[in-house]
Symmetry: C2
Subunit: 302 residues, 2 copies
Amino acid sequence: MRSEPFDSLDRYLRERKERVDRALDGFLPGESRYPDPVFRSVRYSVFAGGKRLRPVLVIAAAEICGAKAEDVLPVACAIEMIHTYSLIHDDLPAMDDDDFRRGKPTNHRVFGEALAILAGDALLTEAFRLMTDRGAMRGVPPERLLDVAGEIAEAAGFSGMIAGQVVDIASEGKPPDGETLDFIHSRKTERMITVSLRAGAILAGAEAGALEALTGYGRRIGLAFQISDDILNVEGTAEALGKGTGSDAARKKLTYPALYGLESSKEKAGTLAGEAVRCLDRFGDEAQPLRALAGYIVERNN
Amino acid sequence: MRSEPFDSLDRYLRERKERVDRALDGFLPGESRYPDPVFRSVRYSVFAGGKRLRPVLVIAAAEICGAKAEDVLPVACAIEMIHTYSLIHDDLPAMDDDDFRRGKPTNHRVFGEALAILAGDALLTEAFRLMTDRGAMRGVPPERLLDVAGEIAEAAGFSGMIAGQVVDIASEGKPPDGETLDFIHSRKTERMITVSLRAGAILAGAEAGALEALTGYGRRIGLAFQISDDILNVEGTAEALGKGTGSDAARKKLTYPALYGLESSKEKAGTLAGEAVRCLDRFGDEAQPLRALAGYIVERNN
């Protein structure tokens, strides 16, 4: 895929997404394995129409650093499984208590709370099974696989995504506070986006400078992505988002627009996207997809 | 520790348990890391008085195969974290809805459902962070670390522990069925016990014959352990168990005593313990702790 010139972000995203979808379908067979209910619950959420942003970032970073998409697909899919698990658990009644996501009833609304909890647990566990599978990741030195699995666990764990969710829940209804908001955004969203880029680069054997550049890019688009999510929750249409809008405000959630206003938030997202693009200056045409993606992230409508 | 002659199972278990407890305390600092609530919730359940059977099995298998306890402590602790996560999630209202475990209120009764779900998620994630930490596991070839993490993920995942819990919940109140019971026992308990022994052996670089012997031992004590758990739920005292007895019967849970009667169940557990000991015939005195442990598992009162 690397050899074609980059001409359309839409096509680039669509092709990589199709590849990720096919690989996920293969990794989650759904039939013939016992017991059936948990597979149906897992597949329902994994194939509920996600954008596959994180796995596409793994692939894009790997391609920039000279590897091929197929070399990193298991790790790319593992990161999408972790993302899906986090959505299933976050939607639970004890957490955000959401009824819809991406235009469909949330997992626990369809399969019940027990299977939703177990589907999340299963996806998280399967992600690490896949990442540590030397057969699936042949050709990658084992040290790199360990480092990637460790970084992903760090980004998803105690001091990463879990910390973000804990503080997010604890801060609902509290007075707005910029430091807490930055903590939540960084842990809930930015770190998993940054580690997606790092994983692709590390698996491809990137040198330190390239890894640092992609990390800088990830930090900025990760934060920009969360700010634009907050903005869409205020301004987006329910149809485009597949879920109710205005839910953050109703719940008095701490968000960028709530704290800084819509205009400032848009400006901040735009500034971050510009900075992200400048992080890629050391790369040539091979980084065009990531440059275009930075703009897409702040201009998307879902 | 290997050099002392084996004279007392009590002392052997106590010394290894203390080592595991100290290591867990170091891996889960609990202070100084932000956010505090999830660490308190995690530590509450990790230090709620578990027997540390699984980590002791990792250490015992490693010692038999010529490694030292300290070489395998991170993986031993990771398996205990996975065990603890599974207990926290199994106790949730949407699952078994248990109020007490080991004589203390269950995690969600103290910290609420949201923090109980997140504490489980955090422990599962941290377990894989620890297992893939090349610094903590220095001296072990990276291929072995990957194989061990992969086997543990397989035992804990979709077709392992998760499958056991799914079928366990689905079978409540249904007509008794031996095949389903074997499936539940094997997936919920036996596989994690077997993989504990395999992990210790693989990390120590065991040859194929030793690995096979320890696997055979694990399968048998794993099943014997679950049968004796079922028996204790009928016969044990609430005081010794730290939770109500008779709960399986009240819930019409599928158990060994319910299907085959108490006497047959005790006989089966005893037979399995005997077979387990015979699996160790190729080893000498270094396997004395595991031989004694097989008897302890079927004779314990908690």
